[in-house]
């Protein structure tokens, strides 16, 4: 059948035309087109990678911020707690020191009083003895003005003294 027999002319034309077409298209179309597509794909990939990296960086920064916040909060709590303890201890210390100081003062005052009392008593004793001596002297002087009475006294005294 004629349909199945290739015509020489068309074979020649087809060969030349197709090879020429392939040469021209590869040089002026496929090469730049494929290169451009590849470059664009590359740039899209790069952009996506960069976006992913940026996202990760963001996440990292966010978590870091959170961590910092948490730390700061914990630190604040710590500081507040410490301050409270410090305050309490200061108050307590002040109380105790005030108490001891007071007690000391009281003690001192008490000792002073005691000393003053003792001194006063000692002075009183001395004055009493002087006074009593004076009184005794005066009594004696008045009683021993007459001789009889002196004799009676001596006698009584002698009576008391037993010679043994």
């Amino acid at each position: 059948m004629d349909l199945l027999i290739p015509e020489v002319g068309l074979v020649v034309f087809q060969t030349i035309a197709f090879l020429l077409l392939m040469f021209l298209l590869s040089k002026f179309a496929w090469k730049p087109v494929l290169a451009a597509i590849k470059e664009r794909e590359q740039s899209i990939d790069d952009a996506l990678n960069k976006a992913e990296l940026a996202k990760q960086e963001m996440a990292r920064l966010t978590s870091q911020n959170e961590e910092l916040m948490k730390q700061a909060r914990a630190e604040r709590d710590e500081i507040l707690k410490e301050a409270k303890i410090l305050k309490d201890s200061i108050v307590n210390e002040a109380k105790t020191s005030a108490q001891t100081e007071g007690a000391k003062l009281i003690e001192k005052a008490r000792i002073e009083i005691e000393n003053q009392k003792k001194a006063a008593l000692a002075e009183l004793k001395g004055q009493v003895s002087t006074l009593s001596l004076d009184i005794a002297e005066r009594v004696l002087r008045s009683q021993l003005d007459d001789k009889a009475k002196q004799q009676d006294l001596v006698n009584s005294l002698l009576k008391d003294v037993e010679l043994n």
Partner: protein
């Protein structure tokens, strides 16, 4: 982003375009067939009264075959230049010198040589006419026995070929310029229409079959894909500048298949040849048995490529033509009620076949080349 409305719009537009196209196809073919039948009828009246029947097979085969003239519309034909190499001389004249004769009845004398045209083939004319007035000697099957000059005429197929080459160059160089103009930006216009297809060829045809070596064969695969696809589509256009059955011509598919074959054997690595001549991993008698089979396989693959494309495209053309011709076979306008919708349906299928055949030819080429360049690790 929701783009469905865009697609819907484009799809609707496509349907409108396709319907118009199909309608035109039918009308044009119908007119052509009408002309041919009346012509034939007249002939029949003048010569013999027997030959009145409309011959569907001849009509279809005539339309899918190559031609030295290009039918425009009605009785108008463009005579194409004839370039012959006969007896050591190049002879050129216009095909219209034959006055639409296709039965070797009109002799064209040029540079001292005489030519006749029969069934769109040019023969060296006999000195005298036979009993039917034909300047050829016929064998018992009514085929001309005369010698043929080497025919380098710009036939309908050759013109379509050159046209498609120019069309492909214009389209794809403008696409390439689009990439230069909008460097690194998103594609626009023609570029955005063709980029998905280029990517389809790269990602779904070349990469799965050729792996990391695909870049080397991309120019061939892209060229062959778009050449076949564009010409399949041009073949479906029923009027100028389409209408030629280029990809349904065995010469064209043969050249394409031979190109794939040559690329395959020149890129075949030693594993490929070893698998053909001395299949590893099988016993020696099997190796000897397999060798001729594998050797035949090298040639059957491109032959299958050649026949597949040729047969599919030719069959599609014959089918559409035959459906339209049914009207003239039954000689009734009522047949058109069935045959035209069916022909439109087949036309739609042919549009798909145009793409699918281009795809199949390209993917099989990629597969064969891939088998030849594949690295074996075992």
């Amino acid at each position: 982003m929701d783009c469905s409305h865009v697609f819907e719009f484009k799809f609707r537009r496509l349907i409108v375009v396709f319907t118009l196209f199909s309608a035109f196809l039918m009308v044009s073919l119908g007119a052509k067939a009408q002309v041919d039948t009346t012509h034939k009828a007249e002939e029949a009246h003048t010569e013999t009264t027997e030959k009145k029947k409309f011959e569907i097979g001849k009509f279809a085969l005539h339309h899918i075959a190559d031609s030295h003239s290009w039918h425009v519309i009605g009785e108008t034909y463009i005579g194409l230049p004839v370039v012959l190499y006969a007896n050591g001389k190049v002879v050129t004249f216009n095909a219209s010198d034959f006055h639409h004769d296709d039965d070797a009845k009109v002799v064209v004398e040029k540079d001292g040589q005489r030519f006749v045209k029969m069934h769109e083939k040019i023969y060296l004319a006999s000195a005298t006419a036979n009993e039917h007035g034909q300047y050829v000697e016929l064998d018992e099957k009514h085929h001309a026995k005369n010698a043929r000059p080497l025919d380098f005429s710009l036939t309908k197929n050759t013109c379509t070929l050159l046209l498609s080459v120019v069309l492909l160059l214009v389209v794809f160089i403008s696409v390439a310029n689009g990439y230069k103009k909008r460097h690194g930006k998103s594609p626009k216009g023609l570029q955005s229409w063709l980029e998905p297809i280029i990517l389809f060829v790269r990602d779904d045809i070349a990469k799965p079959n050729l792996g990391h070596k695909h870049e080397r064969f991309m120019p061939y695969l892209l060229t062959v894909f778009f050449f076949i696809w564009f010409n399949n589509m041009l073949g479906l256009v029923p009027f100028l500048p389409g209408g030629a059955n280029l990809t349904g011509n065995i010469a064209v598919t043969m050249v394409l298949a031979v190109t794939t074959f040559l690329i395959t054997i020149f890129n075949g690595n030693k594993h490929y040849w070893k698998h053909i001549f001395w299949m590893p991993g099988v016993p020696v008698p099997m190796k000897i048995f397999l060798m001729p089979l594998e050797l035949i396989g090298i040639f059957t693959k491109p032959v299958a490529l050649m026949i597949r494309l040729f047969a599919n495209i030719t069959a599609g053309h014959i089918l559409v033509l035959s459906l339209i011709c049914l009207i003239f076979v039954f000689n009734s306008i009522w047949v058109s009620a069935a045959s035209i919708p069916f022909a439109i349906f087949i036309g739609g299928i042919e549009l798909m076949v145009a793409f699918i055949q281009a795809f199949i030819f390209t993917i099989l080429s990629a597969l064969f080349i891939g088998m030849a360049v594949e690295e074996h690790h075992h």
